[in-house]
Amino acid sequence: MLSRVADSIYWMNRYIERAENYARFINVNFTLALDMPMGKEEQWEPLLEITEDILYFRKKYDTVDKEKVIDFLAFDTDNPNSIYSCIAHARENARTVRENISTEMWEQVNSLYLLMREPKFGSGIMTREPMLFFREVISGIQSFRGITASTISRSDAWHFGRLGLFLERADKTSRLVDVKYHILLPSAEDVGSTLDLLQWAALLKSVSAYSVCRRKYGYISPNHVIELLILDRRFPRSIYFCIKEAFLSMREVSGNSDGNSYNIAEKLMGSMHTQLEYTDIQGVIKDGVHEYLDRIQVDIMNISDAIFASFFAHSNIDK
């Protein structure tokens, strides 16, 4: 597959996954705010921490409140990570690779883009129908995944897409857990309080993991949440699961079934996969959850750079 095309498909999928995660985070926080115990302040700043957009935000606004955060994360065209920007980037990438994806995939990305541009959405949505918008984005993206799975041949386009999707998802899950653990860390008397529980439940809901957690463990505790979202073998948004799936696609695009001559990206991903495979929750806690997640984010960044160097850049070919 053309390197430029692989690059575009990879990023199209990352952007789409990013948009979905943003929509989930905002949607859940919005609902959470409705359940806040009296006297507790709504917390919107952590959303900016999860997405690492806080520095951008501060350049634009002095104070943090719901309207500003939602507008900034959903519609702001100056914010390169806003849902709007992500969908626009994804569509732009899709336009350059239409011959490599199915017509239905293109039309779905295009319809998401047209949805964003509908006058009933856009800035100032808070006074209208905020929830509807986020639900439509999420379901539109889920449709995209379904369409992709049922229309695209399992060749390079599929695998580079999966690399983008799962690396982005692993990164966002790690940031989500980190924020609750690191920033929303409750004071001693709040542990186990309604607020604490509410936050853990919200976190699970934002990645569709609430009932999975209940079913698996019976009740919700921080350690269970961490185990589920970092190490679970079967849950499709756990970090382990994402890296495992990404690694499968990595091996397909590298074509190293004989197990020889690995490229850097494959090596890095293989070692990350193995590391996650042989870790357990006690190990993570012993290392420090924040430190552990931090390392995961660094690993993902390095892998992304290595994918660029190994597949997209052709730095070894003198043009």
Binding site: L2, S3, E92, E99, T103, E107, V253
Partner: protein
């Protein structure tokens, strides 16, 4: 079958112009009779709904093109009007024969110009015309493209005058665009009038890309060819078409930066290394193809590409150099060219053309500029033009000066009134001017795709059908 003006078309006035659907007495023509009957059964609201849904579908499928407007890059659609342009079998037979003849002759002409230039030796065409033609590419002299074919894809512009006759307006032998709209228009119209396609036996167009892919493969220097489509990129106004054709033919859409040349062979840069390319359908103009052979500042091209082509290691479609025949001065010689190479009279006439480089023609143009259309010999897309009857005194004077300063660069033609077709205007159906761009594929066989792209000037009275200037398009039906 009713022959009077039908309810949904009222009050439709052909207004002294040649209308494709109605004659001057308001009687529907035979070609439109069956369509008219069926269309007349539709409620007005239904017609508006069909039109709305069609444009909506264009947006949803991303049939857009980019235009620069005051420094901002905007995406637009080329709106389809749901009332088709219908051509009778007899008219089509004439057009098809005429195009077959013309393209065959022009290809022989191009080949001759880059070889022995017999047509000049025989004094049919002045040597000066070729010497002064900016589209003549010196590096192409002596080249022999596969099967002797230079203009593989042509999109000839044809118009119909008040006399009801068809005329060739432009040849477009370089990188003509519009075929994707032709194909997509048909898909969208099928949704609106499924029954009519069956009963009228409209000739199908869906096999265009099949024939085209066959043609591309025939040009390959090696068996099992690797064929790619070279595009200038996403900001090119025809990007939708490049993407559409690549998708439909199952070939890679590449940009200059995706290609490298090694040892005079062309390769794509892939995730698993270099892969050799055999045939390039290129939608990049000649002079931008290769900065080492033509324009040095081209960022779209691939250094070394022309040398690889010259050595026969890669085929280019269309071949570089075909632009000579797009020069409007050479266009004026088309009847002589057809006579010279085929010993036949042209089946499709040219629009009468005054070549300002001929003193007698120039005098006529200078004296009658207010009644003529003046064109630069090598401009296109509606640029560099003067429409005398609509122009101010000042711009007429300006063009007189420009013609006198550089007569070789100007031609003039009488104003041609393009024929009209009923078109949905706000609230009712009115006549709008159209032209016709059939597409011709020239591989081992020469094929004219039945119909073509009908472009329509959506503004009332306008004769400018260009997409950049308020034009739309129509599906074109050739009756079986």
């Amino acid at each position: 079958m009713s022959t009077t003006l039908q309810a949904n078309f009222q009050p439709y006035i052909a207004d002294g112009l040649f209308d494709e659907a109605f004659d001057q007495a308001g009687r529907i023509r035979n070609t439109y009779a069956a369509f008219g009957d069926s269309f007349n059964l539709l409620a007005q609201a239904k017609i508006r709904e069909m039109q709305y849904a069609t444009v909506k579908a264009q947006l949803a499928t991303g049939m857009t093109f980019n235009v620069y407007d005051e420094g901002v890059n905007k995406e637009r659609i080329l709106p389809i009007d749901i009332i088709p342009r219908i051509i009778s079998a007899a008219d089509w037979e004439l057009i098809e024969k005429g195009l077959h003849q013309r393209i065959t002759a022009l290809n022989l002409f191009i080949d001759d110009i880059y070889h022995d230039q017999k047509i000049i030796a025989d004094k049919v065409l002045p040597a000066e015309v070729i010497r002064s033609c900016p589209n003549f590419l010196e590096p192409c002299v002596g080249l022999n493209p596969p099967h002797g074919i230079w203009c593989h894809v042509t999109g000839t512009d044809i118009i119909r005058n008040n006399d009801g006759k068809y005329y060739v307006l432009e040849d477009n032998l370089r990188v003509p665009s519009g075929v994707s709209y032709l194909l997509e228009n048909r898909e969208l119209l099928k949704r609106n009038f499924p029954d009519l396609f069956e009963t009228l036996n409209v000739r199908p167009v869906y096999d265009y890309t099949h024939h085209f892919m066959e043609l591309l493969r025939e040009m390959s220097p090696r068996p099992h060819p690797h064929v790619v489509l070279l595009t200038p990129g996403i900001y090119n106004s025809a990007y939708f078409e490049h993407s559409y054709l690549a998708r439909d033919m199952g070939i890679e859409l590449v940009e200059g930066r995706d290609l490298v040349v090694r040892d005079d062979c062309v390769y794509t840069l892939t995730t698993s290394g270099l892969k050799q390319v055999d045939v390039i359908y290129r939608r990049v103009d000649d002079i931008f193809l290769d900065p080492s052979a033509f324009r040095r500042d081209s960022l779209l091209g691939v250094p070394g590409l022309f040398e690889a082509y010259r050595k026969g290691n890669v085929a280019l479609v269309n071949a570089p150099g075909t632009g000579i025949a797009d020069d409007k001065v050479i266009y004026a010689y088309a009847p002589e060219i057809i006579k010279y190479y085929l010993d036949q009279d042209p089946i499709l006439p040219n629009v009468p053309t005054y070549v300002c480089d001929r003193p007698r023609d120039m005098d006529h143009v200078l004296n009658n500029i207010e009644e003529l259309v003046v064109k630069e010999a090598n401009a296109s897309g509606g640029y560099g033009m003067l429409i005398g009857p609509q122009a101010t005194k000042k711009s007429c004077e300006d063009f007189r000066k420009r013609i006198k300063a550089d007569p070789r660069n100007y031609i003039a033609q009488p104003v041609i009134n393009l024929s009209t077709v009923p078109t949905l205007a706000s609230g009712r159906i009115e006549p709008r001017h159209v032209d016709l761009r059939p597409f011709i594929l020239y591989g081992r066989n020469l094929k004219v795709i039945p119909g073509g792209l009908t472009r329509v000037a959506l503004r009332k009275g306008s004769l400018v059908v260009n997409s950049s200037q308020g034009g739309g398009s129509k599906d074109t039906w050739v009756l079986g």
